[in-house]
Amino acid sequence: MSAAIDLSVLRARLEERFGTAIVPAPGQAPSREQPGFRTGLAALDALLPGGVPRRALTVWAGEGTAGRTAAMRALVDAACRETRVALVDATGTLDPAAWCGPDGRSRPELWVARPPSAEHAAEGAWVAETMLRTGAFGLVVLDGPAPASTDAHRLRALARETDTALLVSTGGPPPQWRADVRLEFRRTGEGRVGLGPGGRFRRPSAIRMARGEGARAGEREVELVHEPSNRLHPDPGPDRRPRARH
């Protein structure tokens, strides 16, 4: 029996015993369909049935308090269960408390890159590009100013080359350059009060999706309801003081 046959027999036995723990030999791996990353949020996943796609540049844009950051956190939390995630917090405004898990730390598969000062916010695109080039992350999120069109073009090409899902999450109106998927978050129910007693805030928001540049066809809206904690910290610890009231 030749050495090659020996090896194939050994590999088959190992696969029989250890299943998917055996990494397929180079060139023999079946082509697997790499799905995108779902958020775990039913309304958003219904809008993006395949999730935030790999090999593509997805843009989430929108005004403040429209739930963009909350959706991004849900996406990252879900994606960390499947892959390593790089999050570029270019503006340095993400509150760490929201990213801590039950053990008091963010997930070990999450890499957060934060600039030393606000002056470096514009370098976020460059950092995201470097993260993409490593090929070590399944999802790269750039949260901050939208990159310039040339940078975006390069980022999109890199996401395609490295089989990575790239999400650009930015405030304000969506950038004009080409993206594979665009979502726009906006507040709805204007004039309706959202803030209620006890600090509860329930109000619908809208997510409008347009695939491709300037495509208005296929625009859809879904409603989200935000419910922040009624305390500054959901887990205030040993603080036993009565809540102050006016």
């Binding site: 250890f18 779902r38 775990g40 949020l41 005004e63 403040g64 308090t65 739930g67 963009r68 909350a70 960390c80 269960r81 499947e82 270019a90 405004t93 993400l94 509150d95 760490p96 408390a97 929201a98 801590c100 963010s106 070990p108 890499w111 957060v112 890159a113 934060r114 600039p115 030393p116 370098e123 950092v127 470097t130 993260m131 080039r133 490593t134 070590a136 901050g144 100013p145 939208a146 405030g171 304000g172 507040r187 204007e190 309706r192 959202g194 803030l195 600090g199 805030f201 109000r203 989200l224 309801v225 935000h226 922040p228 500054l232 910290h233 887990d235 603080d239 809540r243 102050a244 006016h246």
Partner: protein, 465 residues
């Protein structure tokens, strides 16, 4: 004591009248030769010759194999070289004069016998002494070596005695420093010194390949690299390279070394570079991880992200950590790990948790707070009860450049407020007493503000998104 010396001389025959190879070509040749020998040093005042340390190569095929590898390396760099290996520099140099052999190995302990018939012109001696020896009728090293040393010293002095020793193969010259125990070393010199670090591009891969190969024979991989750049008339410029974890990946190490060189400009022309790898007792065991999930190589990740660490500092790799303090700014923080956290990051296995199966939040999202690095002073109009009733949004917009953070309410707006939530403490450091409020604009923007109890001033802490 550095024993068991063996040295190789590599000579590039250049026809008379032809120009010698340029600096870059010589650097490329030195880099190529490092693939066969750990230390390569240019022969002073001979632009077409190098010394290479050939000691300790018994396990790699011995002298013959080293000679062939050196010749092949030179050939790959574009040069037809002649290689001689001997115990002494003088015999190795003589061996390269044999035109019939591309490689010539002088057996151990036979240098004196080998030099007997070699021309006296091989000896690096003063021209006047060479002339005197010629007038005495001496033509070969053997002729000189046969003379009594006392007569030589009497007539030709110390210089003559030195020539006599060289003719016997007793060459005290040795261009290499003894290697430190527990390390692997490689070095190369430039003659003449080069003005820029560009030639290092050719030399570094050779240096790294050499030290990793030395350590590989001991089943070790480098844990740290110390790069010493030698500048004439100046102190050695030492730079240390610390991969995120011990790695033998030459591409990673070359990248790290290149960045270390580029980090600070050289103080002057570069005349030599020395690379010392410390094994640090780290065994090479990567091949045993047969069933480990594919993970990025920490060393490669470090090398690829080194520019990010250089620009963004340790914050380029951060994780959120809850501290439990009451102030929002202190309740949790970002722990900046720097490159030291890379290994732990790559060790995390995402496959440990099953993928989530949709509808995790059932359309209800907990809002995330976005906090400003430094709270911004805010103009707040209060009602009779001291509750915030309006906010000057124009002042806010001027104070906060919108760097992709979303839009702020642009004008004076009435607000609906919820609060206060009073937080105080920290008397042991700087006593803080604050009233936190949530403010909602008419457009639905939700912010978190506080009033400093001591000054009565209002600040925007952040907003919910």
């Amino acid at each position: 004591m550095y024993t068991n010396r063996r040295i190789a001389c590599i000579r590039i025959p250049v026809p008379t009248g032809d120009p010698a190879p340029g600096t870059e070509a010589r650097a490329a040749l030195a880099g190529a030769l490092l693939a066969a020998a750990p230390r390569v040093i240019a022969v002073r005042e001979y632009p077409c010759a190098f010394w290479a340390d050939a000691a300790g190569m018994d396990l790699l095929g011995g002298d013959e194999a080293v000679a062939r590898r050196l010749a092949r390396a030179a050939e790959e760099a574009g040069f037809a070289a002649r290689v001689g290996i001997a115990d002494s520099c003088i015999a190795a140099a003589a061996a390269t004069r044999e035109r019939t052999h591309a490689t010539r190995v002088v057996p151990r302990g036979r240098d004196a016998g080998y030099l007997l018939r070699r021309s006296l012109s091989l000896l690096p001696i003063d021209a006047s002494l060479r002339g005197a020896l010629y007038l005495l009728g001496l033509r070969t090293c053997g002729d000189l070596a046969a003379l009594p040393p006392a007569e030589i010293e009497l007539r030709l002095g110390d210089e003559g005695l030195r020539a006599w020793r060289l003719a016997q193969g007793r060459d005290e010259r040795w261009p290499f420093r003894p290697p430190a125990p527990g390390t692997a070393e490689a070095e190369a010199e430039f003659e003449p010194p080069v003005d820029s670090a560009e030639p290092l591009r050719f030399v570094l891969p050779g240096l790294i390949a050499s030290v990793t190969a030395q350590l590989a024979t001991r089943q070790r991989i480098p844990a740290r690299l110390r790069l010493t750049l030698r500048v004439p008339d100046a102190a050695d410029d030492a730079r240390e390279v610390r991969p995120a974890r011990p790695t033998a990946d030459p591409r990673v190490l070359a990248d790290l070394c290149r960045r270390a060189v580029e980090a600070t400009p050289l103080a002057g022309p570069l005349c030599g570079v020395r690379l010392v790898a410390e094994e640090d007792g780290v065994a090479r065991a990567d091949q045993l991880d047969a069933f480990a999930a594919p993970a990025p190589d920490p060393g490669a990740l470090h090398a690829a992200l080194l520019p990010v660490f250089a620009r963004w500092g340790d914050g380029a790799l951060s994780t959120a950590v809850r501290h439990g303090a009451h102030l929002p700014g202190e309740h949790a923080g970002w722990a900046a790990h720097g490159s030291a956290g890379i290994e732990a990051f790559t060790a995390a296995s995402p496959a440990a948790d099953p993928p989530v199966s949709g509808s995790g939040f059932r359309n209800v999202l907990p809002l995330c707070l976005r906090r400003l690095t430094n709270p911004v002073s805010l103009a707040v109009r209060q009602d009779a009860e001291g509750r915030p009733a309006g906010v000057d949004g124009a002042a806010l917009a001027n104070a906060l450049p919108d760097g992709g953070m979303g839009t702020y309410p642009p004008r004076l707006w009435k607000t609906r407020a919820e609060g206060p939530e009073r937080v105080s403490g920290g008397w042991w450091a700087r006593a803080e007493a604050r009233e936190y409020w949530r403010l909602e604009s008419e457009e639905g923007w939700l912010g978190l503000v506080y009033r400093d109890a001591a000054t009565g001033l209002w600040y925007l802490e952040g907003w919910f998104d």
